[in-house]
Amino acid sequence: MKAIKLLVSTACFMGMAASTHAEEPATLSIEGQAFTIQASAPAHTENLDEVTSGWIYRTKETRALQLDDFDNPGFVFVDKAIDLWNEVDGSEDKSCASCHENVEDFAGLRTTLPRAEDGELVTMEDLVNECRTEQMGAEPWKYSGGKMTGMTALIGLQSRGMLMNVAIDGEAAAFWEKGKELYYTRVGQLDMSCSNCHEDNYDTMIRADHLSQGQTNGFPTYRLKNAKLNSTHARFKGCMKNIRAQPYKVGGDEFKSLELYIASRGQGLSVETPSVRN
């Protein structure tokens, strides 16, 4: 009796998981540039066959907003960051542009971050704040504040269309392992890990939300929900609060390691920042 019920229940569950909501075929092209939104999973992502951009799981209307930079609300914040790029700040009378003539020179940087340097895991936010404090003599920006997120979107945009390619070996290996452990650890009163939703149940509806793989290639991302650019760490924090878990510190070691691990799961997907999500 029990065995039969278990079988029925399992069959039902599997039937659900197999249903596909993503409309096929989906191709993403912005300003004539083609993006890789589906790729074979990298070898180190052993539980997935393919990796997919979160863009695929959004509604037609939300997807459309990312197809044209004039329609993409994220560019309002990128434009503000261009002003910041040229704005002198701090004791050294410098702006970003004083040392980095063209922001375009940062093409490719987004694909390699976070990266391990001298025993530390370094994010783009860290690099920006290091420039501010060491070169400009200016106050560091809030790790996930509006100025920072605009700037990381502007710098990330220079890599748009390039494939994510973070290093996970050598000095990065220990951080990557830590991030992987966090990814699979259940936390909070709802007792869930990242993998429960984004590996085991992606492409499934959780109430009105279509679960994605939780890839980070689109970050910072403009969310319709809060009408601003969102950093990866802010998103991690939001996820943790949703499952009633005490979030790790934004900009702290745990989230940086998780950022590296998740970035590595998206190896082979195009950088999309500033992407548009719900």
């Binding site: 019920k5 659900m16 009163q189 007792d191 149940n201 109430r207 005490q246």
Partner: protein
């Protein structure tokens, strides 16, 4: 099964005049995928159970389950199995185990335990030491689930 059912009914009758403290989460007796005894000794209220079921801050069951009995609620989730007609597939004592702590029935399930107040990693302060639902809310949800027949 029938004999067990009767003995539970008798036990329930005997217990009800005393009905005092609910069974504490860590004292719930999960045996072979069932919890035989009511957590409170007070019959579940299916009307309140329906509210607990759909309330996003309580059961939030629709986040993951389709339920044809709630067509007025849009966007039923699809992470877990459909609950339409669930009473035809599961007995009350089985439902009690699944709602109270599904991990005692389905190893490794994503489904949260609704009546467990310890053992969590990094719970948010507001929820630390608490179960998602009270014992009576669990009984109410079970009473509601028992009305879902096809």
């Amino acid at each position: 099964m029938r004999i067990i059912g009767i003995s539970i009914a008798v036990a329930g009758l005997l217990a009800s005049p005393l009905a005092a403290e609910p069974v504490a989460p860590n004292d719930v007796n999960y045996e072979d995928g069932v919890v035989l005894a009511s957590l409170t000794g007070v019959a579940g209220d299916p009307v309140n159970g329906r509210d607990v079921f759909k309330n996003r801050k309580l059961g939030n069951c629709l986040a993951c389950h389709v339920n044809a009995e709630m067509p007025e609620e849009s966007f039923h989730g699809e992470v877990g199995p459909e609950l339409t007609g669930v009473a035809d597939r599961w007995e009350q004592q089985e439902l009690r185990a699944i709602v109270a702590n599904s991990k005692m029935v389905f190893d490794g399930t994503i489904m949260p335990a609704f009546y467990q107040d310890t053992g969590y990693e990094r719970p948010l302060k507001d929820f630390d030491g608490k179960s998602i639902l009270t014992a009576q809310q669990v009984e109410d949800v079970i009473a509601y689930l028992q009305t879902l027949k096809e």
